[in-house]
Subunit: 176 residues, 4 copies
């Protein structure tokens, strides 16, 4: 049996769907996937009451997590298991309770096993809340095992957790 | 009425207690404050089932949030409202479900309004999971208004959200 | 006597010229200013024999210095003394002896005293060599003292070195 | 013919000597190697007149280059060719003409092909000028080919420039 050959956009869509279904964290935070393309993702998250401090501004941890999520969808869009090795985030302006945040991830570089992605977090009104730069590292395995080679039946592409030399921090880095 | 004069350690303890009581996020994540000193904090968080992906490794967003929390307690320990301006995080090894993570924040530099803090995230067994470097920026106001000047009665030290030029992302940066 | 009022582009040009004339380092490295605009700079540097290692690839220090130079011209283009507070650089591909490197600095954010600039270092053929993100901090004084206020005669806008809380590391941060 | 087996300290010393002899840049800047150990280096550089701007404070590019040099000696101390993949630098205080700067590199993590090193740049009087964090990436080959395997005669360990996936930016990363 041969898996259907997918064009890059269809592959990115299939991967995003698979990642989303496995990722309770982004579900729990109300993160929505607005758009994915090869090397690109746009996701959104409302700033809820349980995400803010007493000033009603969003905790940095949630802003990071939103940006990290966009990063994961973008860097895994080729169906190659890819994790974050390091991230840099600048906080520019507060996000207030009730605002809808969008995080847009754009690929700046991809060579060998490593990539660089720029993620911008904005409010719907266009205010830039945060700039995030993530370095990705490709590990063994595929997000959807066997999708490209038609070898899904034995699951041998499932990454071995022991082989993940660097780290696994992303939702999308690991097939269930 | 004059507020009691506090020595630096007592001030750090009082600030941590005040921050903790206002911060539903760290409460919700089960983050515990193990130790605070001037410019220093040690906090802990268990990796719960709702923090992991299908490989049972902790999401990067939660590791960041834990480190960010230690950073906030350390840089606000002088009772001067202080926020994160930028953070850099390296992910070195996965944290597994059930492990207890500790984040230790140490002050590397503090001059004028800006500081640099190094936060190391380790498992109880000593495995280094992540290295985080945060840059802090002091804004107006105090965590516990009036504690040092004996001027708490009118709350005029409460920071004006409009005056927060850079951002407010930390739990501890804002008195309620 | 009143100094002529300059439009933003003319001001950026005048500042770049003043910075260039004072900066022996960029002169010594053969760095050329190709274009400046408000918040923007494009500079170039040939990779000389004395900048490479035994593989004939350019040392990271020179790539950093080139990017840092573009950063300085961009963030000082408003004639407000501005210095680097922190920089992040990713090295993506080697630059070889004889190649001409261009560094393009683009403003991503500017609010209050702080800014974020993205600098991309490319070869003439379009290969991306390095990505650099710099955080700027505005200090006292102007690059060309008195240019905008017509108050140059007493030089009171000359920044006091003691007042530079953060640091002065840029060529353009300091009027002579 | 078999090369002598070297203990880690003797290996670090031999590597540093080999790197130094090939590196005209550090020679040109007057950088001195004060101490090397496995995963560690201490280097020094005087702030010369040609390194400062009109305020007599050292350019950031030279501070970066000094820290980068300490980083290179530390991460290559095991005689495995290793390059910088990314660096983060914070500028904390100015360095003045005539001051002697020391950069101390300490290994924070080394796993698989990647490492994290913290480099602190101080004046002799103990003022911290800059904090630098570098991520290293091990590539093919050895600094001193064949030293450990007794296979130096054919030089087959000389790294192929084409195989350097990430980048080569360090002096010490490449045997001549």
């Amino acid at each position: 049996m041969t898996a259907p050959h997918l064009d890059p956009q269809a592959l990115a869509d299939a991967v995003a769907q698979a990642m989303r279904s496995r990722d309770r964290t982004s579900q729990g935070l109300g993160i929505q996937i607005l758009s994915v393309k090869p090397g690109y993702a746009l996701v959104a998250m409302p700033v809820r009451a349980d995400m803010v401090n007493s000033h009603r501004t969003c905790h940095g941890g949630f802003i990071f997590t939103l940006a990290d999520c966009a990063f994961a969808y973008a860097c895994n869009s080729y169906n190659q298991n890819t994790v974050a090795s390091s991230c840099n985030i600048d906080f520019l302006a507060p996000a207030l309770e009730g605002e809808l945040l969008e995080a847009e991830a754009v690929e700046r570089s991809l060579a060998g096993r490593t990539g660089v992605y720029d993620i911008t977090v904005r409010t719907r009104s266009g205010k830039t809340v945060s700039l995030f730069r993530g370095k990705s590292y490709r590990i063994k395995g595929e997000v959807i095992a066997g999708l490209q080679e038609g070898a899904a039946e034995n699951g041998h592409c499932r990454p071995d957790p022991q082989s993940i030399a660097l780290t696994v921090t992303m939702a999308g880095s690991s097939p269930s």
